[in-house]
């Protein structure tokens, strides 16, 4: 420490700290990683609501065969917008931008990320990209109707505002790259003195692995979208067969990014769960190194399996079995994690608090999502269920049941630290119950009718599928009311809840050693680094 650190600084939380600006400007120009995290949280929560409402509208359209509340073209627009918002604006930034920003520096004992100004800049780019994405819905040419995948050649020929939407995705990707860059440098350069890589808690490990994917995969989709835009603007023929191109190449390039992007979504979620389970079992995490390295393994192998999205697109026979093989390999590190979570619980003193309930349901839903993923990974079964609602159910189990529930778990786990207030447990439990029931009611029937042949992205269907669609819609209503109750409970907790102690769950990682909410510099004295971050007696 330098000489100016000798006189004791009085504790002021980051929420009350007075900087250069005051009022709203002290937030939107803040370079403090904790304030930026909250900025992301509010933005992402808003977009999540918009996306969820659009999803609910689709559910109401599907409650009966034929046209119920919207025209087919409106439906095409709505599922595209739902996808673009949920993927690019909610789940990809989601956990890493909110909780990564807030807790990565704290968990490794740093006072901020490596480049605080760049961090703020990423948030502004994110907002700019989001405005573009939302604006694309209101242009005169109509909302894009390509689905979030923007497959060529339809996306190069349709009259809807694809350019605006792809520009938005490009800009959002840039924000994602800068966040990833920032986190990698933070992990390399900002760890507390004495903390080695294998002394880090496991959430930073997963954020680190995610950051590499963000950094290395996003440029590929960036260039792909630029090529798409150039093709539309100047008639440069990369993908349109009429102009000499190969539409399958677009799919290759798109999935070279977008498959690793799935791991951008799920890896931080796994990291959150890995933090929560030892805390609520009061037990050292089982197989620390296996979990840490499996994050990197998922990130690495995840780069090489993109072709399993393209089994029916006309790829060569050899490419199909090759991608199928790799896909099965990537299931191994995921399974290692699940095994380690369960083993951590074994003989632990389990405490069923709301964050742990969400974590448990994460494991349950992730196992369903993961094992149905193997059905899709093997070529023969994939061809049967490709582009059916089976796929829809599968990726919602991973993205919503996985990443979404992990997000809810994280907010229930860390809210007392972020705001210094506690929410109501009873309401949180009821909200969790209706989320869990609603979620399964909504998506499980889609597996069944998917196998029977219900196509995805259709606004109409034969009457024999109606029973499942009705159950799904009911589930959707239960789910959304659960979300509303949960958000209400959290907001009430922040505004009127009891004051939370510094360590309400008796956690052992660094964030629980500092006051709630943390001060601007996080650590007023140098943190004590433990050999194993999950050191319970």
């Amino acid at each position: 420490m330098m000489s100016n650190g000798t006189d004791k600084i009085e504790y002021v939380s980051y929420l009350e700290h007075q900087g250069k600006y005051s009022g709203l400007r002290s937030w939107i120009f803040a370079t403090d990683h904790k304030r930026i995290a909250l900025l992301y949280l509010y933005a992402i929560a808003t977009f999540f609501f918009v996306g969820a409402i659009l999803g609910l509208l689709m559910r109401f359209e599907l409650i009966a065969p034929g046209e119920t509340i919207m025209k087919p073209q409106t439906y095409n627009g709505i599922f595209t917008v739902h996808g673009v918002i949920m993927i690019f604006m909610v789940v990809i930034p989601g956990l890493s931008a909110v909780f990564g920003n807030f807790f990565l520096p704290i968990l490794i004992g740093a006072k901020d990320v490596a480049f605080p100004k760049l961090n703020l800049f990423s948030w502004w780019i994110f907002i700019f990209g989001s405005i573009l994405a939302v604006a694309s819905q209101f242009l005169k040419s109509g909302p894009p109707d390509t689905g979030w995948t923007f497959y060529a050649p339809y996306s190069t020929t349709t009259g809807t505002s694809v350019i605006m939407a792809t520009t938005a995705a490009f800009v959002l990707g840039f924000s994602s790259i800068l966040t990833g860059l920032n986190f990698i440098v933070t992990v390399h350069r900002m760890r507390a003195p004495g903390m080695k890589f294998f002394n880090m808690p496991l959430f930073p490990w997963s954020i680190y692995a995610t950051a590499w994917i963000q950094l290395l995969a996003t440029p590929i989709v960036g260039i792909t979208l630029l090529m798409l835009i150039a093709e539309r603007l100047f008639g440069i023929g990369f993908f349109d067969p009429k102009l000499g191109g190969d539409p399958l190449l677009f799919q290759h390039l798109f999935w070279i990014y977008s498959h690793p992007a799935v791991y951008i979504m799920i890896l931080p979620a796994m990291g959150v769960i890995t933090e929560i389970i030892p805390t609520f079992c009061q037990k050292k995490v089982y197989g620390y190194k296996a979990i840490a390295l499996s994050s990197l393994a998922i990130a690495g192998v995840g780069f090489l399996v993109w072709g399993h999205h393209m089994y029916t697109s006309g790829m060569s026979e050899n490419a199909r079995w090759f991608f199928s093989l790799l896909t099965f390999i990537v299931a191994v590190p995921s399974a290692i994690k699940v095994f380690n979570w369960i083993s951590t619980m074994y003989k632990g003193s389990i405490d069923l608090k709301p964050p742990f309930l969400f974590a448990l349901s994460f494991i349950f839903l992730f196992i369903i999502g993961g094992t149905t993923g193997l059905i899709l990974g093997s070529v023969a079964t994939n061809i049967q269920v490709h582009d059916t609602s089976f796929i829809v159910a599968h990726f919602h189990y991973i993205i919503f049941g996985g990443m979404g529930f992990a997000f809810f778990a994280a907010i229930h786990y860390w809210l007392p630290k972020m705001y210094g207030k506690m929410y109501n447990f009873k309401r949180a439990n009821i909200a969790w119950g209706s989320l869990f029931i609603g979620f399964n009611l909504l998506y499980f029937p889609q597996f069944i009718i998917g196998i029977q042949g219900m196509p995805r992205r259709y606004f109409d269907y034969p009457p024999q599928f109606q029973w499942a669609q009705i159950i799904s819609t009911i589930g959707g209503v239960i789910l959304i009311s659960g979300i509303i109750l949960m958000v209400y409970n959290l907001i009430m907790g922040v505004r009127k809840g009891e004051i939370a102690p510094a360590n309400p769950w008796n956690g052992s990682t660094l964030e629980w050693q500092i006051p709630s909410p943390p001060s601007l510099e996080n650590f007023d004295e140098a943190p004590v680094v433990k050999e194993n971050p999950y050191d319970y007696i």
Binding site: M1, M2, N4, G5, K111, A114, F115, L118, I177, L181, N182, I184, V185, H188, R189, M190, P193, L215, L216, T218, P219, I220, G222, I223, T224, L226, M227, A230, F234, G235, I236, G237, F238, L243, G244, G245, D246, L249, L253, I256, E521, A526
Partner: protein
């Protein structure tokens, strides 16, 4: 600075800035990597067409531009050496030479493109629509790749102009030169991409 580096007011970590720049260079490499992937697939599918179309390009201009860029890459590396040796005057001159080389590269490129445009060969033109698929793809890639590369040249020039004024104002000096170092790294990246672009675009047999 102390080894622990816990500073409240001024936090400075040149290693971190440099690592950040390298990571950014990785993203740029993969950005162009996507294009090289597209290139390699279409070249593999239409080898003869690619050869024929490449004859339209002047190897002489390509060689001149290659040497210009390599030379500029050396001068900017020398500028860094100069600043590290506390020779401000030489550093300024070398950055200026680098910028001049960049300008020459762009002017060359302008004439090269202009020549094609005069013959009606530009994206979306009537002539392009009449070409065979392989030719069309070659020229599409040619314009897109060299265009994107030229855009990077312009970005690099802006960075170097800022570096020039920073050296002039002494905010980049022999003790803190990480801005110039990063600007130079970016410039070498532009050179590096051209090293691969040149044989793949101009020398196809």
């Amino acid at each position: 600075m102390s080894e622990k580096g816990i500073h409240i007011e001024e936090h400075r970590d040149d290693e971190a800035s440099k690592l950040g720049m390298w990571l950014f260079i990785f993203t740029e490499l993969l950005l162009f990597g996507g294009l090289f992937l597209v290139y390699s697939i279409y070249r593999w599918q239409y080898p003869v067409n690619f050869h024929e179309a490449s004859l339209e390009l002047s190897v002489t201009i390509g060689v001149i531009n290659t040497i210009v860029l390599l030379f500029s890459s050396m001068t900017i590396a020398m500028a860094l050496t100069a600043i590290q040796k506390n020779n401000k005057k030489l550093a300024l001159r070398l950055i200026a030479v680098t910028l001049l080389m960049a300008l020459i590269f762009l002017i060359n490129k302008y004439f090269e493109w202009g020549h094609k445009f005069e013959h009606g060969l530009y994206p979306g033109s009537d002539l392009m629509a009449l070409l065979e698929r392989g030719h069309l793809l070659y020229f599409s890639l040619y314009f897109f790749m060299t265009g994107l590369h030229a855009l990077h040249i312009i970005v690099g020039m802006i960075l170097l102009i800022i570096a020039y004024f920073k050296v002039k104002k002494d905010s980049v000096n022999s003790d803190r030169f990480v801005f110039l170092e990063n600007g130079a790294l970016y410039w070498h990246l532009v050179d590096l991409i051209w090293i691969f672009l040149f044989p793949l675009m101009y020398l196809i047999t």
